[in-house]
Structure formats: C-alpha cells, structure tokens
Symmetry: D2
Subunit: 426 residues, 4 copies
Amino acid sequence: MKIDKNNISDHNRKYKDSFQKEFNFVSGKLEQKGINIEQIVQKVNDFQVAIPSWALGAGGTRFGRFSYGGEPSSLEQKLQDVGILHSLTRSAGSVSLHIPWDIPKDIKAIKEIAKSNEITFDAMNSNTFQDQKDAKKSYKFGSLNNSDKEIRDFAVEHNREVIKIGKELGSKSLTVWLADGASFPGQLNFQRALDNTQDSLKGIYDTLPADWKMFIEYKPYEPNFYSTTIQDWGTSFMLANACGEKAYTLVDLGHHLPNTNIEQIVATLMYKGKLGGFHFNDSKYGDDDVTVGSIKPYALFLIFNELVYGMENNPNNPELAWMIDASHNIKDPLEDLLQSIEAILVAYTQALLIDQKELREAQLRHDVVKCQEIVQDAYRTDVRSILQAARLKTDAPLNPLEAYRSFEVRKNLIQERGSKTVATGL
Amino acid sequence: MKIDKNNISDHNRKYKDSFQKEFNFVSGKLEQKGINIEQIVQKVNDFQVAIPSWALGAGGTRFGRFSYGGEPSSLEQKLQDVGILHSLTRSAGSVSLHIPWDIPKDIKAIKEIAKSNEITFDAMNSNTFQDQKDAKKSYKFGSLNNSDKEIRDFAVEHNREVIKIGKELGSKSLTVWLADGASFPGQLNFQRALDNTQDSLKGIYDTLPADWKMFIEYKPYEPNFYSTTIQDWGTSFMLANACGEKAYTLVDLGHHLPNTNIEQIVATLMYKGKLGGFHFNDSKYGDDDVTVGSIKPYALFLIFNELVYGMENNPNNPELAWMIDASHNIKDPLEDLLQSIEAILVAYTQALLIDQKELREAQLRHDVVKCQEIVQDAYRTDVRSILQAARLKTDAPLNPLEAYRSFEVRKNLIQERGSKTVATGL
Amino acid sequence: MKIDKNNISDHNRKYKDSFQKEFNFVSGKLEQKGINIEQIVQKVNDFQVAIPSWALGAGGTRFGRFSYGGEPSSLEQKLQDVGILHSLTRSAGSVSLHIPWDIPKDIKAIKEIAKSNEITFDAMNSNTFQDQKDAKKSYKFGSLNNSDKEIRDFAVEHNREVIKIGKELGSKSLTVWLADGASFPGQLNFQRALDNTQDSLKGIYDTLPADWKMFIEYKPYEPNFYSTTIQDWGTSFMLANACGEKAYTLVDLGHHLPNTNIEQIVATLMYKGKLGGFHFNDSKYGDDDVTVGSIKPYALFLIFNELVYGMENNPNNPELAWMIDASHNIKDPLEDLLQSIEAILVAYTQALLIDQKELREAQLRHDVVKCQEIVQDAYRTDVRSILQAARLKTDAPLNPLEAYRSFEVRKNLIQERGSKTVATGL
Amino acid sequence: MKIDKNNISDHNRKYKDSFQKEFNFVSGKLEQKGINIEQIVQKVNDFQVAIPSWALGAGGTRFGRFSYGGEPSSLEQKLQDVGILHSLTRSAGSVSLHIPWDIPKDIKAIKEIAKSNEITFDAMNSNTFQDQKDAKKSYKFGSLNNSDKEIRDFAVEHNREVIKIGKELGSKSLTVWLADGASFPGQLNFQRALDNTQDSLKGIYDTLPADWKMFIEYKPYEPNFYSTTIQDWGTSFMLANACGEKAYTLVDLGHHLPNTNIEQIVATLMYKGKLGGFHFNDSKYGDDDVTVGSIKPYALFLIFNELVYGMENNPNNPELAWMIDASHNIKDPLEDLLQSIEAILVAYTQALLIDQKELREAQLRHDVVKCQEIVQDAYRTDVRSILQAARLKTDAPLNPLEAYRSFEVRKNLIQERGSKTVATGL
C-alpha cells in the first residue's frame, strides 16, 4: 500500500489551525532571541535518517518473538514500508539493507520500487555474526578475527559481495559490525585476534570503490561474552586509521558500558575527522535497542549538540550516515519507528536552538551556571511545532503517528499481506 | 541581607508581558485537553523543598575546596541565605539542619530569625560519619553498626541529642544517614553489623516523640568502600519495619548502583506506605551530587510521575519530606540551588500534566505506543510559564536566577560577610 | 550410555599416587592449623548441586544456536546426562525440571530412570515467560503481573500444574522466575503490577503442599526491558513475606546490577531466615550465564563464605536449594557443567577453610589487615586435592573432565543419539 | 629506623623448614609439568614495583582523615619507609615522587638516603589538580585543558619544573594525571578542551630529555564530574601519538567504567608498543583505591597474563613502569603496601605458570574448555612458596607482614616520629 496524499491533506486541514497558533507563538519567541527559524525548519527538512530493513518486523528476544500482522516478507515489501514512513515524515528517505537477509533478486526492479517510494540506498550491512543455512564455513569462533585464515577469507569475501550488491543499488558505504570475541578468559589471544581483524578489514577496504566509505562499529559486549575484539571507539578508530582515509568509526548509541560519556566520544571523533555514522536507539540497562529517546532524551540532545557543533566546525569530517538501529517486539514496528524519528528530530531541533556564540562566551568566562542555562533553555523548549512546520512544507502529515492510525495503515498491510507473515532478519 | 520587595516588583513589571503571553498560550492549550491549570498552579505553589544547611557553602572535593565569597559562617547567616532563596522562589520555605555543624546557641533567637524569613525546620540530620574534634569515641570503624557497644551507644546518644534540639526548633523528623560499612572483604561480619544497626536504630526510635518520623537512608557505597551496612532500599525498608510505624525509608537519588530503576523503588515504597522522604540531586557516574536535573531530567520526571501517583493513591503513605541534597564547588551555591529548585518544579509540573485516566486506559489495552505518547507529551511540554504563574501569585520574581544576578545578591553578601568566609559543614 | 565403573577405577589407579602426594601435603599443612580435614572432605561429599534440564543442550543466543552433537532430545536422555555428570563427580545427584519443556509422559518410568542414575528431583521450574504453541493466552504483556485477570489466572494455573507434576516426581519445591515487566516508561503501572504479582503468587502459594517451599526469583532486567516487576531481592523478600512461611527468596548470581554486593544480600536473607535457594553462573557484563567461576571466582568464594556462615549460624534458615543456572553455546554442555561443578566445590572448600573464630577475633579488634589475611589465606590455598579426596571416597574419578574425555562420552552420545539432535528448552 | 638484618635471619630460621617443605612440593609438581621453576623465581626477584610517596600516610576521605601514628612528615622519612618495605620484600626498590608534595630541599642528601636504602627514583608525578597555597593561578576550571592560555602555560611550566627535579634525582619519566574536565553539560567545549590539552602536552613533551618517557594517564570521572578531558585509553593513546615516540599511555586499574575489560586494553596498547606504565590498586564500585588484589584478584591475574605475554612478544613496547597507586585510611599504610606487593607478585607468578604454547594450541583448535582449564590451573596453584623462595634468595623475610609485626616497626616509627604526624600529600 501507499499513503494516499488526499488523506494527508485532509489530516493537515484538520490540525492546521492549532499548529499555526503554536508555531506562531514558538517561532515568535525564538525570533526575539535572534534565532532564524526558517533556517532551522530547513535543516529539519534536510535531515534524513535511514531505516534498517530488519527493523520493519517485530524484534526477537531469546525467549521467542511475538510477530506482528502484516510484516513485510520480501525486500519489495520492506521498501514499501520505508516508503510509508517517508510519506508520513519526509525524514526517512533511505533504507539500510542487511545482506544476506535482503539480497535483491532483481536489482532493476528493486531500484524502481525504491525510486517510486523516493527511497535511496544508505549504508550496506554485512553479516558475519550468523551462520547461514548450509554455509561452508562457520562463524561460531569468530569471523574477521578468526585464527583460521580460511574463515577470515570467507568473511572478507562476504563483505566484498555486499559491496558489489551495494554498488549496483547505488549505495556508497559499507557498515561492518562484528560479534567476534570470546566468552571465556583464555579462549582468545587478544593481540592475534586484533591483528587478524586488522588484516581482514584491510582486505575488505582494498576492494572498496573510490567513492565509498567503510564504517567500523564497536561494541563492548554481547550477551554471553567476556570480550569483543572491537570493544570501544579507541579500537575502532585505531583500525580505521590502519585501513585508510575512507575508513571511519561508527557510533551506535547502545554499544557502550554503563555511564559512558558518548557525546564526548562524538566530539573527539569529529575533531579527528573520523566519525562516519551514527546509529540511534536507546537503552536502560544494556544494548536494549528500545525506541530512540524513550529512556534518556537529554543524553540524545547532548549528543546532537556535539553533532551540530561538529557539522559546523569540522569540515574534515564527512557527512554523517544516520540510521535507526532499534526494533521492539511489543510495538507495531512502524509506529515504533515513527516515535524514533520524532525523538531524533526533537533532539536535533533543540540542539539547533543553542546559541553557540553565547555559549562560547559563557564558557570562556567560566560562568558554569550560565552555560547550563543556555543548554537547558534550548532543551526545555517545546519544539514540536517546528517539526510540524517542516512536515507541512513537504506535504507530510502534521501528526504522523495519528495519521498512521487514522489511515489504518496496519489494517491495510494485514489485508494485503496476511497476519502471519514474518520478516526476514533478526 | 534580605531581598527588597520593590526589586521584585520592578523585575516582574519588566517581564510580565512576555510571561503573560506565554502563559496564556500554554494554559490555553492545556485547558483544551481538559487540564485544570489553576489547580496545577496551586500545587506548584504548595510544593516546598527543604534546603540543607550545608549546601549553602561551596562543596568540597578530596583535592580541596574552592571557597566562594560571602559564604555563611553561622547558622544565622545560613537561615538568611535560605530566606533569600525562599524570597526568590517561594518554594524553599524550610531548612534541614545538620548537627553538630548547626547547633543553635540561642534557640529562641534562631527561631525568630527563621520566622522572619518564613522558614520552618524540616528534618534534622545527625552525623555519625565524622569524628568531631576531641570526641570521646571514634567512628573510624563504624557508628550504629560498630561491634563495640560503647561506640554504638555514643552514636545513639548523639541522635537523641539531635532529636532534642529538633524538638526545641519545631522540627518533626530525624534523618539517619550512615557511612557505616567495610572497605575490605572479611573486615565486617555482615549479619552482626546489620543486627547491631537494627538495635541502634531501635534505640533511637524509642526516644522519638510521638508526632515525629524517623527516616532511614540507604546507599550502596562510599568512595573506598567494599560494602555499606544499609546498602539498598530493601535493607532500609526491613529496618524501618523492625523499628515501627514512625520509621520510613528515605530515597536519595544519588544513592544507587548504575542503571537502577529508582522510580520503581519509589512506587514500591509508596505502595507499602513506607516512603518517608526524598533527597534530590543528580549524577553521571556515581554519587556525584550535581545540580538537580542537570544530567538526567527525564528520570527525574519519571520519578515525579510515581510520586504524584502515590500522593494521589496511597493515603497510607505520609506526606513526603523533600530536600535538595547537592552542592557544588564551581558554582555560586545559591545559584546552584535556584537551578535545582527550578528543575524540581519543572519535573513536578510535567508529571502533573499526565492524564492518569487516559494512561490507565492505554495500559489496560496494552497500547504501549500510546502509553509512551502520553508520558512524553507531558514531558515535552514547556511548563516554565506555569512555574512563573505560581511565582507571580506569591510575589516571587518571574525569573529567580536573573533576579538574583540583577539584585547583586552575592556582591551584597560578600560586602556583608567578607570574601574569605567558609561555611561549616562538608 | 552410563559411565563404566571399571573405567573410573582405571582412571583413579593412574592418578592415585600423584593425588595422594598432594593431598598428604595439603592436608598435613591444614591440620597443623587445626583444621579437621576429614570433616571438610565429608562436607564436600555431602554437597549436591542440581542440574537444570535445559543446560544439557547448547545455549541459544539471539543470533541462533550452534547445536552440539548428541544432545538429549527427551527427558529420559536428560536424566541420563545428569547421571553421567553424577557418576563423574558424585556432586550432581539431582535434576531441576522445567515445565513445559520436560513434562514426563510416563511418571513411573521417569522415576525409575532417575533412581537408576541415583538422581532426585530438585525444585520444579514453571515457565510463564514464553508462549507455548497454540496457547490460549499470551504472556506478551506479562503473566503473573498482567492487568488481565484471565491471563494471570492462566499463569497461576500453569504453576499449579507444575506443582502437581512435581509432587508425583517427589520434588519438594517450586521456583518462580518471571520475565514480567515493561519495555517503556509509562507502559506499566508499577503499583498495580506489583499488586497483581502478589495476588498471583498467593494464588500459587495457596495450593503449595505443606512440605513444599516456593522460591521467588528476582532480576533487574532482561534485554529490551525498562523494568521488571520483581527487580531486586527487596521486592522478592517483600513478596515472600506476603505469601507466608514456605515462601523464600532465591538468589541467582547473574541477576544483579553492576557492582552489586551479592554476598551481603545472601547474609541479609539468611539473617532473616528467608534465603531459599541459589543459582550459580558467572558473568562479565550482564546476565551472561557463563561457566561458574570463570570470571569472578573471588566473588563466588566470598558468597560461599556467607553461605557457610549462615548454614552454621542461622538455624531459622532452611537448607538451601543449589542449582547451576548457566549454559553456553561454544562448549560441550557436559564439559561446561563439569567445570561449573568444580568451581563451586573449589569455592565452597576454600570458604570452609576460613577459621571463623580467628576471623571473629580480628574483626572485634578491628584488625582489618588480619581479617583480609585470614580470608585470602583460605582463598589462596590450592584445595583441588581435597575435592579429589572426596571423589575418591565415592568412587568418582579423580579428574572428572579428563575422565569424560578419555572415556569418549560425547562420542558415545553422538553414536547413540546422532549428531543433529536438539535439546528442548531455551 | 631500618630493618635489622639479624631480625630477618632469625625470622627466616624460624620459618625455613615449613617453607622448604612447601616449596619442594610445589616446585616438584610444577617441574613435572616442564616448568623451569628457577627461572620463575628469578623473574619474581627481578620484578620491582614503585611505591608512591603519598601512599605512606593514611589516605583521606571527603569526611576527613584518620591519621596513623608515625607517619612520615618529610621526604627523608618517606624514603626511609620505602626502605623498610624494600628490606621486607626486596620488591619495592623505587619510589615515585609527587611534586609539590615532595620537593627535595637538598638533592644530594636525598639521593644519598635513597642510595643507602637501595631505592631508585621511578616516574615523577606532577600535580595540576590542586591549587597550592598562594598559587598565582587557579586550576579550578582546568589546567592543561583550560581555555585561559596563561593557566595552561602555568601548568606546563609546573610539569617542566617536575622534570627538572626528576633529572637531578635520576628519574627517567614523568607521569601526567589530570583532573581536568567538566561538572555540567555545556560547561566545556569538548573539542577545544582536547585541543588545548594536546597543545599543553606537546609543550611539556618538548622539554622532555632524550632518555625520558612521558606517561599520559586517563580516567573516566572524578566524584562530582560530568566528563574528564582524557576519559579513556583511546584519548590517551591519541594524545601520546600526537606527542611523539617518547609518549605512552599509562593504565591505572581503578580508572575505568564498570565492567571494562582492562586486560584487553593492556593487550591492545602493547600490540601498538604504547603501554608505558601500570598503576595497581583495586576497587568494588568506583575508583576505590583499595589494596591490590583485595576485591578482584582474578582480573589482576588476567591482566598479568597479558602483561607477561606482551613482555615476551612485543619488543616494540618499552619496559613498563609499575607503581602501586592505592592508599587506605583504616589500615597501617605500610601493612597495606605489603599486602599489595604480595598480591601483585602472586598474580604475576600465577601468570608466569601459564603454558603459553599449550594455550596457543588449544586456542587454535578452538578447545574453549581446555583454554579455560589451562588458565585456571595456573590461577588455582598456590604460589606463595615461590614468592618465599625469591625472598629467601635476597635475604628478605619469608613472611613480610609477620616480620613487620614481630619487628614492631610501627611502634618504632611512632617512637621516632610521634603519634600525631601527618604525611604531606592527599
């Protein structure tokens, strides 16, 4: 199904007055402070976050998976779902595919479906953390870090294959995330595992097209792990430097030890021009992958403060690849993603409101109280009408979630696809 | 010094128009949702948080202390400072004293100063975590948990003394916080230490006046510790039950292990009618005691959601004792407290905006997405003008921090007291 | 298959000399300190830890499961596996079943197989954290805590069914572990969820036979969770008290927030006579369920120190139910369990070596250095030959793991059962 | 005072027989496994760990400090104390000074005292985390990272001064530890702070003598902090690379977030040839600075496993600077250090027992169970008699702590120095 534009028009007609009243008030107040509200609306319009193909179905847990009716069971249907999200927000104009879950059978057809949904192909994701059925080699004891060269080569080859598919689709980057590590002290020789990983990454990097980027993710642990070979940003950064100019570190919000100051990591990497991408999600305890902004919205805002600063001040850092990397099994996946997109844009817009010049001055005179006031003033501002202004400009509904429900999207998807479908992926 | 009421009037005249415009907009929007805004303004007015006497000077660190000019060097001056805060907010109408730091020499005089500042005496705090000069017994190896009965008795006696002073001042509660514990495995017999602590607490409880309450704080660790005898709410709750009806658990935000779900602890204790008080602060890593709401404002809001719910639904739970328990060495202490008060009221007001009936219904139909929407809708609302409305009603300045600076309060205090004063306390 | 006793005899003949030499040396040294080594050997012999039926297959991860050849595919085969472990250690004389994974079809036959393997039936485990195929009700939004009374009743009924099966088998206790909780703030009303859980537990407790015990587990989080209804020992303890005398708290090593002092929780619960059971495993980051003692053996020893103390000094506390609750997907499950059993017995034996009288005296004179020396002296002692002495007394092999490998147990199991079997369970 | 060699002889005569019996047994057993026990004894003899001058007095807490009688009140007395430790262990042959706490008045005299105690001067430590009395500049808002160039220069100059003093004493390295950071979001511009720190470090590095090394410490937080400028090894490593070949990362055990895999950091840095030094201590919750090995001895052993591996396999990494960085206020500081030294040597010796070749082979065939067995076999070995053998060779007492007590060292120090002395430093 596709979202009917008339429905959106009707929806917006209904809410336009109350929106306008709020936006007038908020923008008036902000303009008095010297903020160029049009510019901010434009930046919100420009912000696009990729949807990972695997987040369109209900996420699994170790105890099983409660599937949601109308889940996409093919790549075509996944693109359709992203198209729906994009129609409802105009902020989700790209998809991030996972190979082998999303190998396109007919490249040309897939590209056309994407185009008709105004979707582009963001970073490609390889998968060497699962054995595929009848695979010739097993990643049980590691992939890129494996002590067995044949398995490393097998994993490198898979990544090259992913690049190849990505090239045909028009993607420009590869994200490498590994579950390589050890479950027990002694199991792994850390130095050799690191050395093998470096070699393997170089092997992938060597075949990277000139206009591509490679993103190296890090993560301190998986359940059941005692160590992961790329445990932190420092290791990822070191490996990216070893590979070359097109290799970057990718930060995933959920991949940190308790209490980590993630915004500072973002700042450090942008200072070095080595932040390649950012994966959004949220968590209370571990790598919980819950809806963005549902647990620690202030931390998200502080991270955006660094991202906004870096985008303004670090020309050496490339444009960032944004992706939502979360999925939950007790929400309608599309509603979940709509909430995540909203949370991202709220935090981004709040960060844009910070008067960097005034903040800089307060910092220089060590007026700590004032620094906090400036930052919190932006955060306490209700920016939702600014997001609405951006959506209105692009013919997206003022209230995406409400629109989704009133348009009965899920019901339509179930009618089209059935209630027992299961998305490929996690 | 005292805040000149004329200054406040001038201040409010200056900001009234912009305030009114914002309040009209916000209250109009909320009233459309069926929210009784007058009732909320009244609740904000009624909310009073105690200021701890020791927070009025700059906090120390293990590397020393950067003192702030004009610090209060006597109990009289501390009351004066609380009076200033109260004049600027009308939300800080009580003080929480620490004995022996704040032993009043002339009870009657102190009470009059308090009265003239419209300050009452909230919970009294004993101190058995420091040896006083020339003390006959040392708490080096514990106080209420000490294996030496004479030291336990000495500590119990001190608490009784604190109650006695509190009675004369008109306080109605005693807060017991302990740094009792062990630094090394083996140092302490956990069961005996717990048993001793229970005996000691009962010894204190026995002399508690009929209309008093005793609050038992818990804390998982102090720097250099391997264990604390009252490590968590479960232990505190157990001890409170052992003591009797007037004993309650006190929750301090900063006294938890990483990732603890504190709002759930609050809910559990109110369910049992055993939450006695709440200490506000914030932290990034440990018990950091930084300005309330400066690190995790959403968690504070979620806690207030439980507090508001409990205040409505748990008649068995007594009225709560609120206190700010934070102090910092790189901010003007009074400015720091103004920021903390603001953050508390923001979170409280946002929590009051939650439509509990609508939330209940969404919970019953397991509409998880809607539950989150309801909660976040309240949180994303900019409630600052509601706080201003409350202040305007009580002749407090619309913008306390700005008023504090424009009235040059610190400058006046330095002129009165000198720039080298040091507050008693931590 | 069963372990051939002749093989064990051969094995012991081979290693007896070197064992005897070591045991003579160690026991001589300990006896000089006044330790009754025979008594300790006897205690090691008496110590029996239950094997959970689900640990006999390879554990799953969210990315899949690497199955191990020869996994038991029926309850009969699981009992056989426990029998093997017991033959090799004489410390694994019971099994803990999980319903519905292990519903016996023929009770009498199962009991006979158990008897022939000298296995008894330890605590029964219910499962309301997974929906069974074609179940009439879903636990997607909770079981005992569910706001829907029909679902709660369904879950209570399941527990009663488990008790019924357990009675027939000769078990004497029920372990209730819940994955009930919320993934998002607002999703759940904490107080109502707690109240519902209490009601449900009482409903189960009401049908508990007079000579049974009910164990209530707690856990702060599951992946993807924002809260669990029984988040900590305090909540479990409160619920156990609400149920009655036969209800107890069960501590699982892995179910704690970072840095929790678990040994102190053990001490507190035994002080109150409310520690019912203990689940062994280990972890580096979260609830990792890796081999016991593989990450934090000293913490395990300190816990045993409290357990040993409590078993001596808390007659009000019942005998504890011990169970290994770990399983891993990159080790042969039986080898994994042999390593866990060894680690448990090492820690237990070391704890038995602590001279409690001497420790008490050092504690009383606050000789912190000496306290640490006493505790670490026990811990640094190589007690493996004491375990061997205990095994030799009961005709178990001196080196169980080596025996397991040299007897080619896995090879035999694969021959009997095939290499593609998959154990029921997680 | 100095330790009387006759006392040591008497002590050793008393314990020699029981030592010899144990050593014969242990070395016999190990030699059967092909371990060259003489080589290991020699390595233990060669291992020297520096004593920080400030650990010789009782450590402070934020609530005060319980001083210990006979504390050294001058640099001369501190050297004497290190001399005592060295006489009792022959493993503490160097001291690490902190400037300005330990500025020598008479260099020549100090060097002679050091020589007569067989003590050398290890890494010098600068202090820009505290304002000295009447200092011209304040570090209240940072030192090397300060936005004020004059303060940065002041801090750089201090470090140069420390190098100068170190040169005269014969030290060969400088350790830079900073408490630079922010207490509140917004207070600091992360990128500028990092840039300033890098500039300052280069400024110090520029004056480093050709045969010196500079060690850059990292730490995620101090109490009251929201961020530290050098928060992790990645940042330190990045800065060391920016400075040059003589700059290295220094790892302090206590300076990590909860659950960090420190042994992997050690391995990574040695792989890159950039691990300069190691500070020993232990902790349960935060940066607790308690006695080495008193909380997590297995983690210490795993770290030593990586250190031993690196010392054998990373010729590009320099010899490491070892230091104990712990101090406690409820133990006699010298007894505390004796316990720390013992724990370090125990872990080191156990790590030396690992058969690296066998481990490598098990790793290559992915025999995870065997890998764990090899590592734990070494760890479970009681190596204390090996330490004794090393001490006996160098005429140190077999049981240093017992010797310390029976020689009544503390009593003598109090007689010499008085019971009210307070050591300079923390």
